[in-house]
């Protein structure tokens, strides 16, 4: 499932509030926490006690705002809604640890010889929670809805657009999608224009119950009762009751295709990030994902276990190198741009002690990054690349070599032509650590003789930050941002000549070549694809159009009465049980 920026907005709101709080109340999270061995977090609970029958679990939906209530995989648009949906609906195909589809789910798949066609076969006993079977037509229907002009969501993405005939359908020229064929009630084949391994990571196989949406116009679906008040799925639980924006009660789906779930019911409640740790300590909440800055408080609890894993995201520092040409649909690099010097960019990366920032500002839950593919993709991630490490001497040497010398002896380096060099840095406001972080960067750069100033002398609010960078504001030279990678490892949407999201506007023929190879039919061979992405990661390290700064840990607290909860990489909700009636306090 794709993650949206929505959670980061929530975090932003929360952090603004917690800033106010900590300023007044002297919150304990201000204390410098000593380094945590973050990689040592377990991923599965260790509770060995005997499970009780028909237990009830309370799940904390950590959010500052009510959930939107678009409870359907086709229409939702935000993390809180997704956290609810995952209890009662799922994808047809399962996923392995590299987030590639496999046969562990409610359907199996076969690829054709030319790898252009995938045939999905739904297992026999898979039924919607209203008793009707999940059919091949339901999966076809999902694509018919998202590719329709009247559909209002964002699921009509790059992978979907690769399906044969979908463009004609989208433009209203065809009544059906010629590339999607229903073979029988349980089998459907989808043919793509070209063979790429993206089909293994980027294809969304959540069906939409056709019978259930009968008579609802596509434009009205997102607001329909079927989505908002009585959503259905074929997951381990079914929705019993929704209190809009604040809680959902789910009960066991006795006919779940994997078998009867152990828990009798689940209550999902919105809990403010400010009180989540107290609620966990009190045993009011059994399971919750806890924000980074609550971690020092979270650590002191004894009645729950802390699980943690790498988030599907990375933070980075980007350098502005050109412009987006909307007419051509291409990035145009400007050879004269201030940051168009590899040594300068590398030196700026070497100047900063990321380890110290991760330990002190992010409670050890942020680790220095070494690559643009996060370790949450164990197969593709190149762990051999050296981690971002401070090396002031080398940074200075690189600058000297490139001709950035302090000509007038004022302690600040001039550019190779001997002219005054002022670099403008744009950084986002919102988080509690935004200000110290930006200042720390600027000071670190000053130490290697670079004069860096904040854009307009202050931090930028989330929306204007991205607005300015997207529009290639000529004032910005350097910026700090982050990407949520989703479960598809392919980085071609973010880097390359035609990638509009490559906001550095950096272009490089080797990069384009490697990313194309990574998506070629040959790349179905994992070893080949791995070697391509290894080369790409090395190239990006060398060229440094962006410098990856941090990988993040996401932590979960799970009450000690909960059994078999795992985040490796997904929880199997039907297996989860509790070992006592009351939560451990």
């Amino acid at each position: 499932m794709k993650r949206k920026a929505y959670p980061s907005l929530l975090v932003t709101i929360f952090l603004v509030l917690s800033l106010v709080l900590s300023a007044c109340g002297g919150s304990s999270s201000d204390k410098v926490v000593k380094k945590e061995e973050a990689s040592k977090f377990p991923k599965t609970t260790t509770n060995k006690k005997k499970a009780i029958k028909d237990g009830v679990l309370t799940y904390g939906l950590v959010s500052d705002t009510p959930f939107a209530g678009t409870l359907n995989t086709t229409f939702y648009d935000g993390q809180p809604d997704w956290e609810i949906i995952q209890w009662f609906d799922e994808s047809l195909l399962g996923m392995n640890k590299d987030y590639e589809i496999d046969d562990s789910g409610a359907a199996t798949y076969k690829l054709s010889k030319d790898k252009k066609t995938i045939t999905i076969k739904i297992k026999k006993n898979v039924n919607w929670s209203d008793g009707k079977p999940v059919t091949a037509q339901d999966l076809e229907y999902k694509f018919l809805v998202i590719a329709n002009k009247a559909y209002t969501g964002v699921r009509y993405d790059g992978t979907v657009q690769q399906i044969v005939g979908i463009q004609d359908y989208h433009d209203g020229k065809a009544k059906n999608i010629s590339g999607i064929k229903v073979l029988n009630d349980k089998e459907v084949s989808i043919t793509f224009k070209s063979a790429t391994p993206t089909v293994l990571t980027g294809l969304n196989t959540t069906p939409l119950p056709k019978h259930y949406f009968k008579g609802v116009a596509i434009k009205d679906m997102a607001k329909s009762t079927q989505v908002r008040k009585a959503p259905i799925g074929f997951g381990p639980f079914k929705v019993k009751k929704i209190v809009p924006g604040e809680s959902v009660e789910l009960v066991r789906n006795d006919n779940y295709w994997r078998g009867k779930p152990k828990l009798k019911s689940v209550i999902i409640k919105v809990v403010s990030p400010k009180v989540i740790v107290s609620a966990l300590k009190k045993g009011e909440i059994d399971v919750a994902s806890v924000p980074v800055d609550q971690y020092p408080d979270l650590k002191t609890g004894k009645n729950y276990q802390i699980l943690g894993s790498y988030d599907l995201a990375y933070s980075y520092i980007g350098f502005k190198l050109g412009k987006w040409d909307a007419k051509k649909g291409e990035n145009i690099m400007n050879p004269k741009s201030k940051m168009n010097n590899k040594n300068l960019r590398q030196a700026m990366g070497l100047a900063i002690n990321f380890k110290e920032i991760g330990d002190k500002l992010y409670n050890g839950l942020y680790e220095p990054a070494n690559s643009l593919i996060p370790p949450s993709f164990p197969t593709w991630y190149d762990s051999s690349l050296p981690k971002a490490k401070q090396d002031v001497k080398k940074a200075k040497k690189l600058l000297d070599e490139a001709g950035y010398k302090d000509v007038n002896k004022d302690g600040i380096r001039e550019d190779p032509k001997g002219k005054k060099l002022t670099i403008t840095f744009s950084s986002m406001s919102g988080s509690k650590v935004a200000e110290p972080l930006a200042n720390y960067y600027i000071q670190s750069w000053k130490k290697i003789g670079l004069n860096v100033k904040l854009l307009n002398g202050r931090l930028q609010e989330f929306n204007s930050f991205y607005d300015n960078i997207e529009k290639d504001d000529p004032k910005i030279d350097v910026y700090a941002a982050a990407w949520a990678t989703g479960t598809d490892v392919d980085p071609s949407g973010l880097y390359g000549k035609t990638a509009q999201f490559d906001m550095t506007r950096w272009t490089n023929s080797e990069n384009d070549k490697l990313l194309t190879e990574g998506l070629s039919p040959k790349a179905f061979d994992k070893n080949y694809r791995k070697s391509v992405y290894k080369k790409w990661q090395e190239l990006m390290k060398e060229e440094s159009p962006v410098i990856p700064t941090f990988f993040r840990y996401q932590t979960y607290a799970v009450n000690k009465r909960v059994k078999d909860w795992t985040i490796d990489p997904f929880t199997k909700f039907y297996k989860v049980s509790v070992t006592s009636n009351k939560s451990v306090k």
């Binding site: 964002v154 997102a222 604040e246 919105v270 107290s278």
Partner: protein, 321 residues
């Protein structure tokens, strides 16, 4: 009176119009839109986002967008919320009852505390009671709501286990049953007290000062010298005059409460309008932001009108013809 009312209502039309232009321009002047939230998602397709922008009419010139919006608004259609994907009227309707319930409860409790305390401490100035009440008002005046609300929650929910810590109702309560209403009530206690206890300070101080001021007026002395009993002096002569400023503020108070309390709602995970407003600004959900500001603008105009009516009812001197 009727003429005065009519005039007041008529003048609200241009006021609302100017307000709508202002709101719309300011909302649109914010950088970004509902779709820029997609910008950290590596797999969102820029082309699809552009297509959505076009479909939502976000690329049209601002005056075109305004005319479309105001035209729909006049017909009762406030548009669709982008984030919530339902009509804004439904969305606000969903939250409005929670907010109104909380607002009404807060208002009632705060006046129920403020009026007796204010009057008593004004009547028996410098007594022990007065000193305690003054101390209480200073304390509540100085306490920030978001700290107080958390403190209340820790004490009464986490430590004493008396009330639930969040939400507006127990997820398992069945609507229509007695349990449901009890659950609604217990969920309302802490947010209400947090808001009400802090809201009392100004009202108490106002009342106290008014009572002290009125106490030494000539007409009170006259009443006393005529032998009117002390209790009647207070209930007939002093209180009626002291309530004037409070009455004038009542209209404004109602407006303020309709806007919702961002802090109380957020800390108690209570789905109301205040949170919705803050959230919509962050998300650039323009339709919701504009609708909410329009509503609270309308409520403000209505509130001042209400204040004037109340005032003219209790104080014949300022009745306008």
């Amino acid at each position: 009176m009727l003429k005065f009312l009519l005039r007041r209502i008529l003048i609200m039309i241009p006021q609302l119009f100017i307000l709508s232009v202002l709101i719309f321009t300011l909302a649109k002047a914010m950088p970004g839109d509902a779709l820029s939230g997609q910008l950290e998602n590596a797999h969102a397709d820029p082309k699809v986002i552009a297509e959505q922008r076009q479909k939502l009419g976000l690329d049209d010139p601002i005056q075109v967008q305004y005319i479309r919006w105001i035209n729909h608004a006049i017909h009762g259609d406030l548009g669709m919320s982008y984030t919530h994907k339902i009509p804004v009227t439904d969305l606000i309707g969903e939250r409005l009852w929670n907010t109104l319930l909380l607002a009404a409860a807060t208002l009632i409790v705060s006046y129920a505390i403020a009026i007796p305390f204010g009057v008593a401490s004004g009547r028996w100035t410098n007594s022990w009671l007065d000193k305690w009440v003054t101390c209480y008002t200073y304390f509540t005046y100085a306490t920030p709501l978001f700290i107080f609300a958390i403190l209340m929650m820790f004490l009464f929910s986490f430590e004493l286990n008396l009330f639930p810590s969040g939400g507006s109702v127990d997820p398992q309560a069945v609507p229509g049953t007695l349990n449901y209403f009890i659950s609604k009530f217990t969920h309302l206690v802490l947010p209400t007290l947090s808001g009400a206890l802090l809201a009392t300070s100004t009202t108490i101080q106002f009342l106290r000062n008014e009572v002290i001021d009125t106490k030494i007026q000539d007409f009170v002395a006259t009443a006393r010298s005529k032998g009117v009993p002390e209790s009647k002096v207070y209930s007939r002569h002093i209180l009626r005059n002291s309530f004037l400023p409070i009455a004038a503020f009542l209209g404004y108070d109602i407006t303020g409460l309709i806007g919702g309390s961002v802090f109380v709602e957020s800390i108690y995970s209570y789905p109301g309008l205040g949170q919705l407003f803050l959230d919509s600004i962050q998300q650039r959900d323009f339709t919701v932001v504009s609708a909410l500001v329009m509503i609270s603008g309308f409520a403000a105009l209505l509130g001042t009108l209400l204040s004037d009516i109340i005032l003219s009812a209790v104080d014949p001197r300022i009745r306008i013809d």
